[in-house]
């Protein structure tokens, strides 16, 4: 690392930062575009179909339909960029960005591997080093901002379907964010109480991962895990919560007026959202980069473990989508307020009581 940095006239810290930026922005993108393929092929398999398999590189290599991703990208680029005359111009242009940027930003604090030391410098595998003071609060906040993308898209389209989708999704996200945050608070409490004493705040993802060395959070916090995962499905607008789109009811919801590259960006950001949501679930509940029974997996192995878990959770997102039908809107609200919120509260109380008992 040091010699390479010297070669490039950079300090090792700067070089590592650049590498991390490339990893953290390139990684979710690559996974997201692969996910579009997994989604289409996987859904086909689940429904006893074949799925896209005809796109071929140079008309020869079909590679299980993987070139479809490239073909879709080229198609989106070459399509006419249609702006409906009644759309609110600037916002209509900005909406895909609003949807897209928060999706990638959320990944910045997630530790995707074990920190390693070269010489006497410690390198951390997350874009923002531990102890930045934001910790897990940051992706939560960014997740809340993501709703603006949908809302802007819905509002600027100036279309009934769009605004209906936007209204629904804003109500949905707000309802589920409450339960989600409460579920996460229980983790913060547990982490602050247990694990080796460090200078890190209890809500720092590095510390949360470190505290899961013995036992992943999913076991003591199963209730919280269920609540959090459900809320993540709601946050990413995936089935069974895809009220933003709701093809059978409101055409394509907030996406109705978007075409060509704008649509592609929105579509991709949905998948980046999934990757970020999966990363959050993995970090908070599935032990991050920890491998069971391996105390010190080392940098490479830990990244591999994180990636494997991430991909499995992503697959679960897709798997659930092709298993469950969509809720009715009132069912969604009832589930959010009458089930998820009390469950999350109960989980919090339970852990608070446990900790109180243990402290006595």
């Amino acid at each position: 690392m040091d010699s390479l940095a010297q070669l490039l006239h950079l300090t090792p810290a700067t070089l590592w930062m650049i590498v991390k930026v490339l990893l953290v922005f390139g990684g979710p993108f690559t996974i997201a575009s692969l996910l579009t393929w997994v989604e289409r092929r996987g859904s086909a398999m689940i429904q006893d179909r074949i799925g896209p398999n005809r796109a071929a590189l140079f008309g020869k290599w079909r590679l299980l339909g993987l070139p479809q991703i490239v073909a879709d990208g080229i198609k989106a680029f070459l399509k006419e960029d249609l702006v409906p005359p009644h759309a609110v111009g600037i916002l209509f242009w900005l909406a895909p960005l609003f949807a897209f940027v928060p999706a990638v930003l959320g990944f910045a604090v997630i530790p995707f591997g074990q920190s390693f030391t070269i010489g006497n410098t410690q390198y951390h595998m997350s874009l923002l080093d531990p102890g930045n003071g934001m910790g897990m609060l940051y992706p939560m906040a960014i997740g809340a901002v993501a709703i603006y993308g949908v809302l802007t898209a819905a509002w600027s389209s100036n279309n009934k379907w769009s605004i209906l989708g936007g209204m629904r999704v804003s109500a949905q996200m707000i309802s589920y964010e409450l339960a989600m945050s409460l579920a996460v608070v229980a983790i913060f409490m547990r982490t602050g109480n247990a694990g080796p004493p460090t200078f890190l705040e209890a809500y720092d993802p590095h510390r949360i991962v470190a505290a899961q060395a013995g036992l992943w959070n999913v076991i003591p916090q199963f209730l919280g895990f269920v609540v959090f995962s459900t809320c993540m499905f709601a946050e990413t607008n995936r089935l069974p919560f895809d009220f933003a789109e709701g093809e059978s009811e409101i055409v394509a919801g907030y996406l109705t007026e978007f075409g060509s590259m704008k649509f592609a960006l929105m579509y991709l950001s949905e998948y980046v959202h999934i990757v970020t949501a999966a990363a959050l679930i993995v970090t908070l509940y599935l032990g991050g980069w920890q491998i069971p029974f391996v105390a010190d997996p080392g940098a490479l192995l830990s990244v591999a473990a994180f990636l494997a878990k991430l991909l499995i959770v992503c697959w679960v997102f897709i798997w659930v989508r092709w298993t469950l039908p969509r809720f009715r809107y009132d069912q969604l609200m009832a589930l959010g307020w009458k089930v998820m919120l009390p469950l999350a509260l109960g989980n919090l109380m339970l852990h608070a009581w446990w900790m109180h008992r243990a402290a006595m």
């Binding site: 398999m45 074949i50 659930v320 298993t323």
Partner: protein, 187 residues
């Protein structure tokens, strides 16, 4: 008729909602695994341009004007089919004709123009039923696409010859000529 609604008593496990979801996920995963290990050729999907579905005998597809052994047209221009057609898409112009060397020569009448607008046709098969001479049949072929509307106006030549090669019959090239230059869409 009254509908009997059966009340299903859900067990507490089913009412958790989580357990039924897991059951459903097991079902979809079984399908996934089964498809994963089924070669593409053995799945239900017919890979259309490569493999074509054999249509059942009663299928109503593109029309064909039948001919006798010696290649002369069976149709006697009686206008029954045009009369029966609910879509009004058959246009016939009759002409007098007699050539005792040809089978059809005894009939003394034949269509000069026989046109079917395939864009208007609803493939109901009434023309086939109405025909007293069994001269018009609906085939099982369903590949009907063209690059412009004119190509979908099938003339007498098209109706007699489009699938001649497939059936192993000679194309009749002298009389009558193709109504519209018909170029089949490449698949």
């Amino acid at each position: 008729m009254a509908t009997v609604i059966k009340e299903v008593e859900l067990s507490w496990l089913d009412r958790t909602y989580l357990w039924p979801i897991l059951k459903g996920m097991v079902i979809t995963f079984k399908h996934f695994i089964r498809q994963l290990f089924t070669p593409t050729s053995k799945r239900y999907t017919v890979q259309y341009p490569d493999a074509k579905k054999e249509m059942p005998a009663g299928y109503r597809g593109l029309h064909e004007l039948k001919r006798f052994e010696d290649g002369s047209i069976k149709c006697v221009a009686c206008f029954m089919c045009a009369e029966a057609c609910p879509a009004r898409c058959i246009t016939i112009e009759a002409e007098e004709f007699s050539d005792l060397n040809q089978t059809q020569g005894f009939e003394e009448k034949r269509p000069k123009v026989f046109k079917i607008d395939m864009l208007r046709c609803i493939y109901c098969g009434y023309c086939e039923e109405a025909c007293p001479k069994d001269a018009i049949w609906l085939r099982t072929d369903y590949e009907l696409s063209a690059y412009d509307r004119l190509e979908m106006q099938f003339g007498k030549w098209d109706l007699m010859n489009t699938y001649a090669k497939k059936d192993g019959k000679p194309e009749i090239s002298t009389d009558p000529k193709p109504a519209v230059p018909h170029k089949p869409v490449e698949m």
